[in-house]
């Protein structure tokens, strides 16, 4: 059984302070770019060594290309998102993974939000996508990477929309 994975990185700068970004994070949904997100629940949360640990369960619609329909049903896909927030170091790291259907496509994503020197917030996003479907894994992975890219744009557009609404007076100008 061949298991292959691909990684992919994108960096996004948000024109808001880290404090504003992490405050808006919990209120990201709904937004006009998140119509695929159906539900969102916090299922675990605690403070350990001064850091906030959270686990959330999201469900999203899962549109697939025609050739993929034989592998997928179109039921909503469940996503688990773990996060660690360190208010002293000002870092916020989220880990997401899909529940179930992992043989077909397993997507692990990590996003690290940190404060830049100019006060704005940098988000670095990486994903690992793998598939065990014999003969189709390459196509599925390629599809997964495209999905990752377009979802990344959607996610930052939606997040910026929420940031502007929550903190209309606090947008920072780029320093360069």
């Amino acid at each position: 059984m061949v298991v292959t994975a691909s990684t992919c990185c994108t960096e996004t700068v948000f024109d808001y302070s880290w404090i504003h970004v992490v405050s808006a994070y919990w209120n990201r949904y709904p937004n006009p770019s998140s119509t695929h997100v159906l539900t969102e629940d916090t299922i675990r949360r605690e403070v350990r060594d001064g850091k906030l640990y959270s686990r959330r369960l999201l469900s999203k619609t899962n549109p697939v290309p025609k050739w993929g329909a034989r592998f997928y049903n179109n039921l909503p896909v469940k996503i688990v998102e773990d996060s660690v927030l360190d208010p002293v170091k000002k870092t916020f790291t989220t880990f997401t993974r899909n529940l179930g259907m992992k043989k077909i496509m397993k997507v692990d994503e990590i996003v690290v939000y940190s404060e830049q020197k100019d006060g704005r917030t940098l988000a670095v996003r990486r994903a690992y996508i793998s598939s065990q479907v014999f003969g189709f894994s390459r196509a599925i992975r390629a599809f997964g990477i495209e999905r990752f890219k377009s979802n990344g744009h959607k996610a930052s557009n939606g997040f910026n929309y929420v940031l502007r609404r929550m903190f209309p007076q606090n947008q920072l100008a780029a320093s360069s």
Binding site: A5, C8, T10, S23, T42, I43, V47, T93, N160
Partner: protein, 91 residues
């Protein structure tokens, strides 16, 4: 945003409001005591866990410990083969 359990929406709303207030007014200001939202969180959790059971969501996969960065890299680096692609976009 809706909860996965239709009957948990009201509890979720109350919990989210409590959490958001605690998060910005206390936690980000250095206070780590999170007991203020604990009672509402407990009731909300009972509701969500029931909805998850009803929808046959695998609880075992959800009750593991939190993912950490080193664990994430270890799990994925063993099979990682693609080159990272960087792109900077100002949003």
């Amino acid at each position: 945003m809706n909860s996965i359990g239709d009957d948990c929406n009201e509890l979720k709303k109350q919990y989210d409001a409590c959490f958001n207030n605690w998060f910005s007014e206390r936690f980000l200001k250095g206070e780590t005591d999170d007991s203020v939202c604990a009672p509402i969180f407990k009731v909300y959790q009972e509701c969500v866990k029931r909805a998850m059971r009803e929808q046959k969501i695998e609880l075992r996969e959800i009750e593991t410990d939190y993912t950490t960065a080193s664990e994430f890299d270890n799990n994925n680096s063993a099979t990682g083969s693609g080159k990272p692609q960087g792109s900077q976009n100002k949003s």
